[in-house]
Symmetry: D2
Subunit: 330 residues, 4 copies
């Protein structure tokens, strides 16, 4: 799939036509490519648990996160309703020495390690499966494809494609690097893994590792040293991978970057054009800001790039995304 750098709208339309899964699972579908993740795939995935080692692929959720206010995305604010201090001072009114602590969080569902729900992106007013965006996602939330529908499904075979390690230098791709189908297949070949129907694919670019390294060398810097991680230049999937994302029939894909696709993208003037094809037309579940480094280190050490992966979104009714703590077990 090639595309005209000067005609993003045409390229998006062409890719959408080729890759569309509208109607594939019926008019009422709310799962998209999660339909590919079936019980057989789960059996295959569970068989990959050999050592029993588990890895969290989540960044921490707190005020030191990457968000800088773009589209009013803030970092999580965590406050206490009760504390150990009040418990110790006898301020709580419980009998017999009981004390307790409770807490509250306020956060955008897109603030850190997350899944994009099917209602997160639209193309020309159309949501997943061809539905009118304005009837799917209103101020009341996603009335049709809310992320709660995905609650039990996201557990299966995970495959790590450490493109940063295979293609990059020192394990990292530079910002603006467009990962093509060739990079993906070469990486899979280098790892000795296959990618196919129903898999959850994790693409590591190395950007998060770089941001962390640079942040820590700028002690005291404002914004927690995140630089432009949230919304700035980044390595990521090329627009041309739309066909691969569709043809492989994977169930989901996630990266260690803010925005999944390469930034700036490959058109003269466009914004997240791959999203515009992948979410509303393919119905693909996309994960962003996953922390793949510990898992990648382990995979590099033992040469095994497949594993059991559970990444269950919180079933927030009507949500167009969810924070998630994905757990890989090898």
């Amino acid at each position: 799939m090639t595309s005209d750098r000067h005609d993003p709208e045409g390229a998006i339309a062409a890719a959408a036509a080729v890759c569309s899964n509208w109607g594939r699972w019926g008019e009422d579908d709310v799962l998209g490519t999660l339909n590919f993740l079936d019980e057989g795939k789960r059996r295959e995935g569970a068989a990959l648990v050999r050592r029993g080692a588990s890895f969290s692929l989540s960044q921490r959720f707190d005020m030191n996160g990457p968000q800088k206010g773009w589209r009013r995305r803030t970092n999580p604010v965590h406050t206490m309703l009760d504390t150990g201090a009040d418990a110790a001072l006898g301020n709580q009114g419980f009998p017999h020495g009981l004390g307790g602590a409770d807490d509250v969080i306020t956060m955008p569902l897109q603030c850190s390690t997350q899944w994009d729900g099917l209602g997160h992106i639209f193309d020309h007013g159309r949501a997943w499966n061809g539905r009118p965006a304005e009837k799917v996602v209103t101020s009341d939330g996603d009335l049709v494809t809310g992320i709660e529908h995905m609650a039990p499904h996201v557990a299966g075979r995970g495959v790590l494609l450490d493109v940063g390690r295979v293609v990059g230098e020192d394990g990292e791709l530079p910002d603006g690097f467009a990962i093509t189908e060739e990079h993906l297949t070469a990486t899979a070949a280098a790892h000795g893994v296959s990618v196919g129907r129903g898999d959850i694919v994790l693409v590591r670019t190395g950007q998060l590792a770089r941001v962390r390294r640079r942040g820590s060398s700028h002690a005291g810097g404002g914004g927690g040293g995140w630089g432009e991680y949230a919304g700035g230049p980044a390595p990521g999937l090329s627009f041309t991978t739309a066909g691969w994302l569709h043809g492989t029939e994977i169930a989901a894909i996630a990266t260690d970057t803010w925005g999944f696709e390469v930034r700036p993208n490959e058109f003269e003037h466009a914004f997240q054009p791959l999203h515009q094809v992948v979410i509303p037309h393919i119905g693909l579940l996309i994960g962003e800001m996953w922390d793949l480094d510990a898992l990648a280190g382990d995979c590099a050490a033992d040469g095994v790039y497949e594993f059991w992966l559970t990444a269950a979104p919180l079933p927030i009714t009507g949500a167009v995304g969810s924070p998630v703590n994905p757990i890989a077990v090898k």
Copy 2:
């Protein structure tokens, strides 16, 4: 373990002395009984995936939840930062037909299906491992045992003890029913499962099923028909199970009730006395408001009460609890 109905404080102190795990995993421990959940247990758990069927054990997170304001616990409030309506109307300013939706949530971490972190309950000013509560959980959150430390660990062998089905009538225990060690072991025997070191035990009382059934028969009732689910009378673990919870060396336990232990409890005047032993002294991870009904139905059908379970808390820095979408796979 017996206890004097008139002396909760003495009973709590006695149980704490017998069941204490303080120091068992060193002075710096932040995991408590999750230490029991090791790689061998994960291999054992993964081997339980036979069909590949997955079950979400989470209630939905929304304003129709059970909370009624007790200790300022409210239900989640989910609002949109961008909608499909605005996308369809061209209000968003993106090029080439791109549209998007984002959202935000505000919720107590104890509002629905959850894990209690180790900083959630104190006994006479002492937190888990004997630490002073006032230095562990301040207004800045849990500075020592925040739930982020548990991020990669909660995946292993799950066992369902459907006490409601085995001991109750029509699958349900009445409110105020105290589940004893005898009930637990009889249920395990009836199911043909063992419970032991490192297991994640799920105890179904049937209360949630009852609340749902009654709520749906009171259409239009205020508060979504939850009645007293959040904080009222409920079946639950007897205070006398503290020894069993300690001696079995389970890694975690969860119920389908608001508060894990029986309510009202077995003392003349006490509040959540089993919590007071179990969290700060045993260091046990407790789950509450889990929705075990679909899983229980499946277990009743196939007679298999053990499975692979992943129940990863969101790594919210300093949190004393976390919402969770637990996924059981059989």
Copy 3:
């Protein structure tokens, strides 16, 4: 102005045609009837300060408020970022004995004593001054008539019309009582006050007093004893007062009820029909859930029903309403 009980839509259209102020203050107007409140009116109002006694007309903002979840309106949740407990325990890290407390609030802007902004209500897709609702109030807020524009204006002559005291029994109108123009003018006559251009009119029905009295006699009742105050039956302005609200050229009006107009309203099937005329067509500033009882008691005692009134909305950019603490000074 009479209206056909069976034809709310026709009645609304007719009233809108008669009462419309669209274009009266130019195409760019963002103030509506606040344009009537000029410097002369402020001089007149300030001259009413005779004793220097001040009255807050605000209910308290906290979790014990009246909201029950309708349209996702909740009561305010107030949490602490720092406390005196942590200060006293030396947990804060400040030098030389300094300690501090900070706090956070999450609340709907319509949760308690408030102003409705001009972007709060639409008629057939039209906002104040005839603008298209979908271009005025998007997910980014009110882009045109946000309440921040009213920041300096709402200070002037206030007039209390205690219809409850003049027309009702024991100072209270029953729920469902429709206050007509005749009631308003009779009350003004009884009080010996005039109402005219630029005034801020406060209409007391007595409902809040009744709700308080009943709540306190139902100690321990759920929901803080508010009953149906938030959205249930209430006394309030008759739909037929639209002409009076327009013709008197008042700047603003507020009541002690949740919804300003009588509930249920006077049509067979309609929802807040007076709002639909008054906000988008007249451009009138409406206040709700004001606590007028202390002021009304003072007015009854000294017979003076006019005063200086400041009721400044918080200039929240793009807000369609604002909590407010109105201050009357006599």
Copy 4:
């Protein structure tokens, strides 16, 4: 009052001893120096309304505010529960063409133009009137001196001391400039106003004007061009003004800076030492981040620096501060 630069703790203790108002208004006092603002003062203030011109002294509340995360203070997040877009599209379900918009805010009470409540600052574990901080402000908020108690009181005579204009260059004092009693009295003399018992004094340093001017010349800069306004160097009151603040018996004081007192302060190592005297010992109501520029321009033009001022905090139960939209009328 002089102070040893090397002994902040001693200087604070000495100033506290000299300036203490503990017990002055009885053991149960919750108002502090607001006790000085009596009815006579209000009559005096109202008489200052000559033209009827009104001025809002509030900054706007939105995500473009000055906060940068210090002590977890964020800028306000405003989201919509309903929009004009959904109304226009018929998504709301109201009859007869009615549409509506609602909104929600989450904000620290200290995020922008505000009053510091009496529970905001402690000295060696003591709150206003000598009360133990840990019993006054717990996780449940300020149980004794919550800002709700001030609801009806803050309306009276306002005096602007435009120290920036009188003492500074081009109307602005440089960062780090300590305003002394001499500067205050010289400014009052230059303006021809007196300052005394019960007044609400507004001190303009010009810093906000400078921050705005610089921000606007750095278009596109991150953080909205606020620089270090929230917590960085600033002009402000000298520690040595504690005696003047006490002796003048003013009711309240506010500045156009983040922190009221000069930053860095005049000690080798201290944090907000003047706060530590003024709030817990004097019981003085302090306002911060007020926007005094429009009012100051008017005062410079007509030479009148006194006016009627209403600055009513929202009565948030248990709050240690409140956002406020102060209204000055001349």
